[in-house]
Symmetry: C2
Subunit: 334 residues, 2 copies
Amino acid sequence: VSIHAVASEAGVSAATVSRVFNHPAKVSQATRQLVEEAARGLGYAPNASARTLRTQQSRMLGVVLPTLLNPVFAECLDGIAQAAAEQGWAIVPVMTHYQLEQEQRAVEQLTAGNVDGLVMVVSNPADSQALQRLRSLGRPYVLAYSRHPDHPCVSVDSAQAVESLVGWLVEMGHRRIAMVTGQTSVSDRAQQRCEGFARGMQRAGLPPATVLQVPFIETASVAISALLRGRERPTALVCSNDLLAIRGMRAARLAGLDVPRDISVVGFDGIAIGEDLMPMLTTITQPNAEIGRLSLKLLLSALDGKVELGPRASLSLHHGFRAGESCAPPLPTR
Amino acid sequence: VSIHAVASEAGVSAATVSRVFNHPAKVSQATRQLVEEAARGLGYAPNASARTLRTQQSRMLGVVLPTLLNPVFAECLDGIAQAAAEQGWAIVPVMTHYQLEQEQRAVEQLTAGNVDGLVMVVSNPADSQALQRLRSLGRPYVLAYSRHPDHPCVSVDSAQAVESLVGWLVEMGHRRIAMVTGQTSVSDRAQQRCEGFARGMQRAGLPPATVLQVPFIETASVAISALLRGRERPTALVCSNDLLAIRGMRAARLAGLDVPRDISVVGFDGIAIGEDLMPMLTTITQPNAEIGRLSLKLLLSALDGKVELGPRASLSLHHGFRAGESCAPPLPTR
DNA sequence: CTGTTAGCGCTTTCAA
DNA sequence: TTGAAAGCGCTAACAG
């Protein structure tokens, strides 16, 4: 059922039907009602591809993200989807599983697929050719979580967050604090968090501390256990994300340590499930859904021409802190 | 850069360029190479909407699901996305947040948006007009997780799973077993699980037991605490999903009970994070990613004409069981 | 306020 | 094996 069916049903031209849907004010009251009725009667809905072909606007946005298996990104995509739905846009998500090459392919696929813009979730500006490509194509895009002077980003200041967190732990009495992180070479966010950690330790006048890097999530528990079994083990563990922190808590318990009595654990991200744990995970929270929502809104503003999508458009959001139950002052040393 | 640009660059007609991309065998070796080179040189990629308009095939699939905030659905969508990417299809997810009305809208939006088919995740055949609509439109669709004799479904037999689970608990020594579930009126899966629970209890010769319904996730902890504070409290809690089970464990601990010593807790779904908890969550596992993957593949087979999408196409998968650490024999009564 | 017309980029007969 | 031509459904000048 096409626009012509509606047109002839209503006894008007296709152009008029089109106007009723796109510029209702340009059509007389009477004609409009006539057309609307005909459309309803036939169950007509404008054909999206025809409209896209004609207007060069698909009202679809691509979202490139590593995985949905980390709740951070699920929460973020949820925010993106919500904002998109509100504005009548559709989203097309593509998962890269942290593979640069897949990110590349995703961007290629999405741009060929006529999306009007993209949200790149945790893309790494340092080594992503995908971003270059987008720029050279002139496709509007926004980076979520990343921070970079050359791109429009929506993020929180992780480094500062971790730095102040370290201060908080020190105030609580901790001295031997270790950092656990994923591969810093592939994640600029992990890097920033480590940097914040280093700054925090330095500012507290403490010596540079252990930074345990666990490349694969599967081996995290093992590595953390080893760290905890050592003598002079840390009294607090700062983890670069919540999933790692949760594994850290498990590793600690398996090593016979009580959290938080024997060891404090802190995460980063603020995924919802952390609140339901026992002990509730202490963590730096990011407004994940909000980051998604705002990334999308920023993108839409740009498509509206309301905003120029340069680095100056970047948004820096506030992080939060969930006190939780996984931290406590260290036991007095005997 | 359109097909004509490539055509004139290569000194052939647009039709030939089209053939090179769609039916390479119909073009001579020489011409093909010529065209391929020209296309590469110009960075040409066929315009998706034009192609869709012409062929009436968008290579896009809609996915309607309640939320990404429950890892079950995130895992499922991950599977869907993976299968789609493998076959070169794009997906357009829409979240309903369990609102029937939004489900309706989602289907309307997606069909108008020219998706070639849809995966409906946990749609409730009993009260979803959206499914009727899809059927009357003749749009292919597959239900994930649902079980219904009139629709093509990909699911596991929850009732049977819970029934056997109850048997396992009874064998372990439990007699006072309670079920905790979300609103059964809106979820046919919750209903099935409760039914399996009832059957299991009956089969064990135990009296019909408490079934605690917690409509809102926020209030789950409160309700569960109340249940656990009662005298003659249950020694085991069967929860209709993992999120509920995790909250249940927290509620138990807050009530001063040790899991599993004082109370056993079992979940349903097999979300990944359950494995990292302390104690590791005992649960009936569903192959969530696989359910997504297979739903999508079934849909694609139907679009290929390889399969007729009737109820006979439904797939029943095996559930699994993760022994975990959240269950133990009940303490001997003094 | 409404209709006519042209064309978005592509695929597919049909004819050569 | 290739090209010419028509048309998928829609929108936006433009003219009336």
